[in-house]
Amino acid sequence: MHPMDFEYVSSPTLSDAVRQYTRFAQLGKRPMYFGGGTEIITLGRLHQVNPDAVIDLKPIPETQVMAVQQGQLVLGGSITLTQITDAPWLGEAFPLLQETVHEIADRTARNKITIAGNICGTIFYREAVLPFLVCDSKVRTYGPKRGKERSIHRVFNREARLEPSEFIVQLVTDETARTAPFVHIKRRKAGRVGYPIVSAAAIRIDDRIRIAFSGVCPFPFRSSAIETILRQRGLTVRQRVDQAIQRIPSHLILDDYEASRAYRTFVLANVLEEILQRLGGA
């Protein structure tokens, strides 16, 4: 049972959502945008998320788009992870995304979790962002200054960097990147459902491997320094992997109930080695 009272409103349009948000904020209330609601329900019952009002973005048509427009794949922020895994055409249009989100949570939760909700979530794994990070996708947001389109790297750095009333409307991805050779690897403590010890999404464009991680640190990231080391010539795979890992400040590597820091580093090394082998960087 959710222990706190809160208001629920659903917004039919982009501008209405921002208006509602601003109105609640002006009344001194804490509004939150609402996608699938899984975090608000599960963290709310523990008093870790306490909105006074939630604004449901799902009725906004722009957030429900799933289409290829002039070679660009446009995905609305309210698309659920199940919609992504169950759309056969996405298996060709963006297979890395399909594989990555299929490993998030379980089917029941994926039926609810939206793609923007996962990316903007409180729980820090946010694995849905990994394919967009490696594909240099564009993010269309809507906020007080109306619509904007920016690089994912401007909008997302460890976590979503948005104005208080701003939200993700769509994610836009080029054909070259989303159809490039790819690998997604997720390693867990046990079983086939659960948070990652390491989750890594990678693509290869020309001779360059792009790679983004979740589960290694308490935030997802992509590092150009790591990518540069990984394509250095004259070093063995193991040497490149070891040097790449050294670029991650060790105090940032997670050390918790899923895995110790040392073991997580071992798993990361194995994952990187496998990615290099499978993407031909070896």
């Binding site: 009272d5 079983g191 948070y195 109930y257 073991y263």
Partner: protein, 790 residues
């Protein structure tokens, strides 16, 4: 009931016969339709408009002084009726050792310990008010492991342990230490024979506490009538123990306490000891006896309620060159947590069967149940036996390797048999122990054992591991069960029994037994699935795989009693001898009488057409009290802990990838001597379910404590358990060596699939790695650490 009516003495009916028409067959479960249609009601489904709701404030610290507590703000919160602190109800509770205040007083001893309870009109109001209770703590040093607790200079968690009320037969705390109980075994001359051993294996074993992972988190409802009668509805395996616990805690008459148990959504031992019931009674008292419900969230179930016990142990096993075991020396330091609860009895259970099902003439064993600053521990499926099996079996494997003997053959060589004696010097006569060598022989075939534990397949290693296990119950000498059988107008019968339906299906098995006695279809036997302690005859506890022995005997006796009453009345009607009356398929008949009369016509005696009547209402009654159980001697452990031993041989086959230290279990095997399988499908389900639980526990489960002693993974999102699809192939075989005290010779079965799984998995992984794996959970991280020393 006099022994004259014992089924074993009845000329016309014997449960020793092998010809059965209902028993031994898979029939429809009695609880199925209610459950699959969603109509089955659990405690939390009871919602009434005048009910108040409680929420618990628990300690964030594993060990701290409480400097101050202030409820003024909380009392002003919307809907709040009362806020209780420990000082408001300073009664101690706990069985067998009353070491626990209902709410913490002055000191908290584990993170999750109840500190305050708020009672409000609505649950969300009670939950919201928790944040308005101001408590100031001063943290104290935390005792994180049972061995650390055993150190002479360890902080003393219960300096007043000698003043606590206790059951002297069951808890033996040592004042001035953190030892909540000490249980010793001294058999033979364990200290003098080591020189005669050709080889000695020494192993240390450890694992953390874990969660039972029952589906239904517990809920409790309490109400007190103006005349003092208490009504408790609760999710428990032991309703009949609650009146006496409430009596001891609050000084009310046990007869004034009525306990109602609807369906229970799994227990696995986690609901065997009443833990929060006294607190909810105190909460109801605080609001004038009004009905109060407390519902535990999963986080409470995992941090506040008792859990699976943790262990650190060391074992020394000595043998002759030919593999014959000579002596064993075992010390267990159990992690019993902050309050003893049933952990002290789990300790005794492990000690009493510490050798596993092997003949070892000289035994020294010391079981210490240690107080630590972890959550309290209680019964868990297997009750001390998965734990003792893990310890002894690791040593058997090491010994076999040291002697270059086949691990299966060394087990067969030492298998305990009729005529041997247990660590507690119980002589195994008659059918008291099942057929261990027979189980081993079947296991050999089942897992295609050819003496080779390991083979390579490319980058993978396929490895097998095995173990043997046994278990008797740790029932007190007066553990009893009663049953009533009524005959209905429609010639069906209704069985009343105090067994709780926790998903195990015991009441279906009992219905089969009654149907067998009545020689009719099980569809004609009704069972009452809910339990009310003032309506159903007492059943000790729904634990220890004892339902079919205790309640089975009672039900069979009640059915025989009812049949006898029917025969007596029918004999008058038929004008024949009672023994010539045949009761079958719902009718009474007699060889020299054409007419058959439905048994429903005898329900209240028989009325002739002319209005005369003969006979009386038919009420069959039966009861059974456990036999052959005596207390253990406090110096030597000599005694008889249980009536019979179910034995098993188990194995697993795994696929291991050395490159990343990952593995999966391919196949798991259990050969169990069930005495008699009453319901093949249920028995198979019990065993496979237990194997699944054991493999989950062994491979991934366990609390991860912070450096300050807090359980950091108290949710299923971060506490992995086997999910559908994680399970291996299961292969199960039953042997049937009868126990003559039980109906049709059956033996307990509910726990035994689990008992050997941790040991068998450790055996297989040790073989795969070539290094011993002596810890749980056996995660890839553990294997990596063992393989690399990382």
């Amino acid at each position: 009931m006099s022994e004259a009516f014992s089924p074993w003495n009845m000329a016309h009916f014997s449960t020793n016969g092998s010809e059965t028409t209902v028993v031994g067959h898979s029939v429809g479960r009695k609880d199925t339709s209610l459950k699959v249609t969603g109509h089955a009601k659990y405690t939390d489904d009871e919602i009434e408009s005048d009910m108040l709701h409680a929420a618990l404030l628990t300690s964030p610290h594993a060990h701290a002084r409480i400097l101050s507590m202030d409820r003024r703000r909380a009392l002003q919160a919307p809907g709040v009726r009362a806020v209780l602190f420990g000082t408001d109800c300073p009664n101690h509770t706990g069985d067998p050792l009353a070491d626990r205040p209902i709410l913490a007083i002055d000191t908290v001893r584990y993170a999750g310990e109840p500190v305050a309870i708020v009672i409000a009109d609505e649950f969300h109001q009670a939950a919201a008010a928790l944040a308005s209770i101001d408590v100031v703590y001063a943290p104290l040093p935390v005792v994180q492991s049972p061995k650390a607790a055993y150190e002479p200079n360890a902080p003393l968690l219960h300096p007043d342990v000698h003043t606590y009320r206790r059951n002297r037969a069951e808890a033996n705390p040592i004042p001035g230490t953190n030892i909540a109980t000490h249980v010793p075994i001294r058999k033979g001359h364990p200290d003098d024979v080591w020189a005669s051993c050709d080889v000695i294996a020494e192993v240390e074993v450890s694992f953390p506490q874990a969660h039972h992972a029952y589906m239904e988190t517990p809920a409790i409802i309490a109400e007190i009538d103006p005349d003092g009668e208490m009504h408790i509805t609760t999710s428990t395996q032991s309703p009949f123990t609650i009146p006496s616990l409430i009596h001891e805690t609050f000084d009310v008459n046990p007869s004034q306490v009525r306990v109602h148990v609807p369906f229970v959504g799994g227990g696995f031992g986690g609901k065997s000891s009443p833990y929060l019931e006294p607190l909810v009674v105190a909460a109801s008292k605080a609001v004038g006896g009004r009905k109060v419900k407390l519902r535990c969230e999963r986080e409470h179930a995992m941090q506040t309620l008792p859990c699976h016990i943790g262990l650190e142990a060391k074992v020394r096993l000595g043998a002759k060159r030919d593999g014959r075991f000579v002596a064993v020396d075992i010390t267990y330091w159990f992690d019993g947590g902050a309050y003893a609860d049933r952990a002290v009895i789990v300790t005794r259970a492990a000690v009493q069967d510490c050798t596993g099902p092997y003949r070892i003439p000289h035994v020294r064993c010391d079981g210490f149940c240690m107080y630590t600053n972890h959550p309290p521990a209680t019964a868990y499926r297997g009750f001390g036996h998965p734990e003792e099996t893990f310890v002894i079996e690791r040593a058997v494997d090491v010994l076999a390797r040291q002697l270059h003997l086949d691990p299966l053959e060394i087990r067969r060589l030492n298998a305990i048999r009729t005529g041997d004696s247990t660590p507690t010097q119980t002589l195994l006569t008659g059918g008291r122990v099942g057929n261990v060598p027979g189980c081993i022989d079947h296991l050999k075939k089942l897992m295609e054992w050819d003496g080779r534990a390991v083979r390579r397949e490319g980058s993978r290693i396929i490895a097998k591991g095995m173990c043997c296990s046994w278990k008797t119950s740790s029932t007190p000498p007066n553990a009893s069960s009663g049953a009533i059988v009524r005959v209905n107008e429609d010639s069906t019968v209704t069985l009343l029994s105090g067994v709780v339906e926790i998903g195990q299906g015991t009441k279906t098995a009992l219905a089969q037994m009654v149907a067998e006695v009545f020689a009719m279809s099980v569809d004609r036997v009704h069972v009452v699935l809910e339990v009310d302690t003032k309506e159903e005859p007492e059943h000790w506890k729904t634990v220890a795989s004892r339902g079919t022995l205790l309640a089975g005997n009672a039900a069979v006796r009640a059915a025989i009693d009812a049949v006898r009453q029917l025969q007596e009345t029918a004999a008058i009607v038929f004008q024949c001898r009672p023994s010539d009356v045949r009761i079958s398929n719902g009718v009474a008949s007699c060889a020299h009488e054409e007419k058959a009369i439905p048994i429903g016509d005898f329900k209240n005696g028989y009325a002739f057409p002319d209005g005369r009547s003969v006979g009386r209402m038919v009420i069959g009654r039966g009861s059974y009290t456990i036999e052959d159980v005596t207390p253990l001697d406090p110096e030597t452990g000599r005694g008889s802990p249980g009536p019979e031993w179910t034995v098993a041989a188990q194995g697993v086959e795994i696929e291991y990838r050395p490159a990343d230290c990952t593995y999966r279990v391919l196949r798991a095997f259990s050969v169990i001597d069930a005495g008699k399988v009453i319901h093949p499908a249920l028995a198979l389900g019990q065993v496979k379910g237990a194997m699944n639980m054991g493999l989950s526990l062994a491979s991934r489960e366990g609390y991860v404590y912070s450096g300050r002693g807090v359980v950091t993974n108290p949710q299923f999102r971060v506490y992995p358990i086997h999910r559908y699809g994680d399970q291996p192939e299961y292969h199960v075989v039953f042997l049937e060596t009868p126990d003559e005290h039980a109906p049709w010779g059956l033996r307990g079965l509910g726990e035994h699939g689990l008992i050997g799984m941790p040991a068998a998995l450790a055996s297989a992984l040790s073989n795969a790695l070539g290094v011993d794996v002596n810890e749980m959970p056996m995660t890839s991280e553990l294997l990596w650490r063992i393989q690399t020393g990382g």
